[in-house]
Symmetry: C2
Subunit: 198 residues, 2 copies
Amino acid sequence: MKNISSHLDRAIKLLTKLPGIGPKSAARIAFNIFTMKIEDVRELSNAIISLKENIKICSLCGGISDSDICWICVDPSRDARLICAVGDIKDIFAIESTGEFNGVYHVIGGLLSPLDGIGPGELAIKPLLDKCRSGVEEVILALNPTVEGDATSLYLARELSQIGVEVTRIARGIPIGSNLEFADIATIAKSLNGRQKC
Amino acid sequence: MKNISSHLDRAIKLLTKLPGIGPKSAARIAFNIFTMKIEDVRELSNAIISLKENIKICSLCGGISDSDICWICVDPSRDARLICAVGDIKDIFAIESTGEFNGVYHVIGGLLSPLDGIGPGELAIKPLLDKCRSGVEEVILALNPTVEGDATSLYLARELSQIGVEVTRIARGIPIGSNLEFADIATIAKSLNGRQKC
């Protein structure tokens, strides 16, 4: 098919690069943008640029923030002696949305993966260890339950134990609302090993 | 959950307004934009604005174009005596992608829907009738097979027949690759009524 509009084609091509958007969704979004009011399109366009230009990385936890230090790290009601170590910034949102955690975060910025050349030096592990040398009581490891996540958790647990900090790991088991029948073997095994007293 | 970043929240809120994007997809896209290179983010942002500001509506067919008249209408190899009437601009792309049509298009700009106050005067029906008074041989109606689409097709068929133009309608039937067993009754009935000689 010949190009109907170079502007449309360019927008569709760029939208397709975003996660979870295929060519059909991109075309649908592009047509929708075309029918939106010009003020709304400008607002969307500005919000995208602003997202990149104005969001900062918190210098304490590595999370995102509008200022140099995020609202979690400056909040005096949050317990700075309890650190939840996460692999990625996005994971902070997942844990915050539960409302169950009142400590602070530390973003590792990835997971150990020797085959991809990611060793402890490539991740924010040293800043975590430094932090833990002054007044931190517990570090909760909330890394993804994958091979890389498990390796990183093991490595962190060893390093943190040497400092004398208590290290825990979020429970792995059957997800709420799911069916035991359809759970995979590894998950069932983890849920058995991690069983708790009623 | 407290706002982690007002810039992030605004971007997520605006992205959620786009079709097919829920809050989780919007957050995923926003985080992805945050990790993109600034040049790529600027390009995306500009493409969105450019989509709205630079695309024009073809003054002949009502399709979209980078110039006043679209490439289909100016192409001398396209048969201007054969018009395919579609409800929406998007439908041109669907038909063009087949590569089976060598005529020109006419965008009606909606479907008749008296309950929503959309009568013949609200749609680009008069321009189609005017066009058909000079040298047009056949109008293919390619409107959606819905109640509104059927009503609009009936209305157009009557008006166009009075001018003396041949009016046809794209076939409705069992979609390619689907299973007769799972097709709905109305579709099977249409495919029986519209049977063709082998």
